[in-house]
Each structure stands twice: as C-alpha cells, then as structure tokens.
Symmetry: C2
Subunit: 292 residues, 2 copies
Amino acid sequence: MSSLPKIASIGFVGVGIMGQSMAGHLLAAGYQVHVYNRTKSKTDALIAKGATWHDTPGAVAAQSDLIITMVGFPSDVEEVYFGENGIIASAKEAILVDMTTSSPSLARKIAQEAAKKGLASIDAPVSGGDIGARDAKLTIMVGGEQAVFNHVLPVLQKLGTSIILQGGPGMGQHTKMCNQIVIASTIMGVAEGLSYAKKVGLDPAQVLQSIGGGAASGFQLNVLGAKMIIGDYAPGFYVEHFIKDLKIALSEAEQMNLALPGLSLAKSLFEKMAAKGLQRNGTQGIFQIYID
Amino acid sequence: MSSLPKIASIGFVGVGIMGQSMAGHLLAAGYQVHVYNRTKSKTDALIAKGATWHDTPGAVAAQSDLIITMVGFPSDVEEVYFGENGIIASAKEAILVDMTTSSPSLARKIAQEAAKKGLASIDAPVSGGDIGARDAKLTIMVGGEQAVFNHVLPVLQKLGTSIILQGGPGMGQHTKMCNQIVIASTIMGVAEGLSYAKKVGLDPAQVLQSIGGGAASGFQLNVLGAKMIIGDYAPGFYVEHFIKDLKIALSEAEQMNLALPGLSLAKSLFEKMAAKGLQRNGTQGIFQIYID
C-alpha cells in the first residue's frame, strides 16, 4: 500500500435512500463530493448542494481520495468495482470503502485487487436504515487494516456513531451477517407469537403491552411487531434485500460447515413471501405468511 | 359465582425460587399467608416470617380467601387442584389464582370446575423470572372475568407492575404462550448469530458491541447473548421448563391449525439439549448445540 492520501474529495457511488443522506452529510462537512448513480435523477438534490456528477463509477474514482460504494446486490458491487469503467481500474492513490451489505468473500477479493494496485480498502457495511443514515447515527462494522481504519475514521464519524474495526478484510461483512442472522429468526418468532395471538382471539396490541417489556422485548417485537399488528408493511428494509443477505450468510455458514437451521427456515419463509410478489414489502411482512 | 370474599388470608401452593419471593411480599403487605410445598424445607423462611404451614393444598385452600398456585408442570397443576386433598374439593368461597405457566385448556377446566362449586378463578401466569419476583416487578397476564380481576388486582399489585386482563379463562395462559413463542425463535437466532461470529473468527463480545444497539437488539441478545459469550449457562429459566411451555404452545397451535415452524424447530433444538443432559441449564444454553 502506498501512503494514505489526505482526504479532501470523496466519491459516492450509489445514492439510494441511505446513500443520499450519507453523501449529504459529507457535503455538509465540507468535502468535495463526486457522485454516480445508475438512475441519474437520484443525484439531483446532491448536485444542487454542490456535488459533481460523473458518468461512470470509474470517473468518480479518478477524482476522489476516498470512494464510498453503497449499492444493492453483490452483483452491483462486482460491477462498480470490476466492470467496464469500474473503480479498481480508475482509482489513483485512493481508499476504497464498500458500505453495501455484501459478501465477505467479495470484500476480500476487493481488498486483494485493490492491494495489487497499491490502493487501501475497507469493508464497512452499516445498520440503522434510512433513519440512521438521515440522523448520521449508523452502526458501521469495519473489516480491514488498523492504519486504514484510523485514517478514514473521521469520515465515518460524519455518518455513524458506533464504528468498530471488527477484524481484517471481510470481517465487517461477517459482522453484518451476524446481525442479519439474529434478526432472521427473531422476526420469525415475532410473527409466530403475534399470529398465535390473533388466531386464538386475543387482542394483539394488548398482548404486545404485556410481553413488550420483558424477555421477549426488542426492536423486532416492539417496533416491527407493532407494525404487523396494524398491517403496516411499508418497507424499512426490503424483503428482497434481506433474502440477499440471508443467502450470503447461509452460503458462508455452509463453507464453514456450520448448520444454521433457524436461518435456513427464515430464509425459506421470506422466499415464500417473494414468490407471492411481496418482496418489496418490509421484513415485518413475514407476518402475512402466517395470517393469510 | 357467589359474592367475592374480602381477602384477608392468602394461600400459596408452590414456593420455589419465585414463589418464595412472592409469598414474602404478601406477608410483608399484611396478609395472613398459608403455605404448602412438596419439599417442606422450602417454606422454612416464610414460616419464620409468619406464614402457616399446612400438609396439603386442600388444607391451605380451606383456610384461604384467595389461593395462589405456582408449581412446575401442568401435571402438578392438575394434582394440586384435582388430586387427593386438592384445592377444588376444599376451597370455600375462595378465589383461585393459578400463576403457573400451564396449558390454556387446563386453565379453562379449572375455571369450569371452580364455577360449579361457586368459586371464582383467574389464570395469571407471569414473566420476569426470579429477579422480577424478588423486586415485585412481574408482568402478570390474566385470563378471567373483569369483576374477579378487579377484586384481586390489589393483591397482584403486590407482586407485579404490568398487570393486564387479556380476556376470559385461559387467555392469560395464551398470552404467556405468545411470549414464549417469540422468545423461542429469538434465542435460536441469537445463538446462530453468535456461533457464526465465533466460527468465523470474530470476537463475539466485540460483535455484540456492534449489533447490540440496533435492529437485532433486545433482552435475548443483550442479556442472554452476553451470557453465551462468556459460557455462563446458569439458569435464569430452565430448559426443561421452557420445553414444557413450547410443547403446550405447539399443541394449542396445532389445535388451531396454525403452523409455527420456527417454534417447532426451536423446540427440537431444546429437546436435543435435554437429550444431552443439559435440561437444567438456562435457555441460553442453546448456544451449546451450535458450538459443540
């Protein structure tokens, strides 16, 4: 790795709901921000605030000391890093920061290919959703080298409040997988408990009052369970993205010979939702599988 | 139902860890307390504080305006209510309050048999464990008639802080089942997430720092997950009692034609623990199934 560049200009590739907020915080902090997004119109608000548009991820990378990617699927990550006009080919003395929730193996591949070109990189997936992004209170789980982490920390601190280096390349992604694995079975349990309540003739809202303060309590029950009860399936987190994450986690677990039957089961239920055309609902929509 | 009695004397059948604390609060509140327990020595401390020992549940019932039962399994509930020298045969103008986590069907049977004798009754299982019992901060989920609920509320308020009438006879037990159903899959998810962390070479305690404040957060992850990480399997809640609860919930769900695959799976994992002789560990011991 060459010496780490002073960070004045930041590239942002992928400005969906979360990315727009995040890039906005970086602009507000005084960085020069270069943006690319598959759908150009989503960059309009950022350009109005001073960001510079480029036609390809590679063109963004060529102008940036640090490049953040926040796209959808691992295939999108592959594309923006390794595709035609991609980041790896065009970046110069830059630091690559993939904040997409993506595969740990791909994170290691990016780190290796970046290193070959003398580029530093970290994987830094987040949790906290659109609200966490808007309020700059994301949890950021980082994999990479300590020196690189230290160098980019001031940038990450514009985006999140819990920022932990969890290990070497890929370990940020692995930590995010732990998060998704816990959530997968938890939301299944919430849906099962509340569907039992409904089926047996209890008032689920009143049941939540009883059980929401004890050993069953948590974000999934108290926030998403409350949405299930009122039939609010608007996405905080899309089912189709969750299925993507659960597939990555299962694939990694299989490679380690680790059986995760709860995760397998939860994934099959979310796939059942997708098969019904419900993949653009929020994850709390798993309730629909039980009550329909 | 005859008119509801003024409550001066309270019977307490079953003074295990939780029952001892609860009966102690009632003594402290000035009630006359009559006690029976299968193992007599467990009543010693209460007797020293002024409680009166009786040789059978029936003898307790004959002296009490309100009788609380807090025993282990539905078979124990059957025994103390309907067995030789049981409560139903001996109670006179009393109110029966089963606080054991037991089957909703059995709760309805108790209510029916009590009514035939002109006795009032409620089912009132709790959550909050030994600490909730000790601090009189239990969650109490009640099934029964409103008038009976209102009448016994001042007694229950000596034991808990969240006390809600959820419906008619059996509905307290059904509410507790909702709680256990949510917990069953949740703790499975926590064990899976942390076993993934361990297997992949992350520091699970550091992972918990990242994921314990977000969408995965909750009592099961933050309290019991933390115990898994340090290998502390001391029981807050025994696996053997949890299996009992999950069997009741599954049986009730089957009767309603409600498929709860997460619950079925979690139950099978806890049974695997029991088959290994780990049934007296706490529920967080499910982690042992994954890491062994």
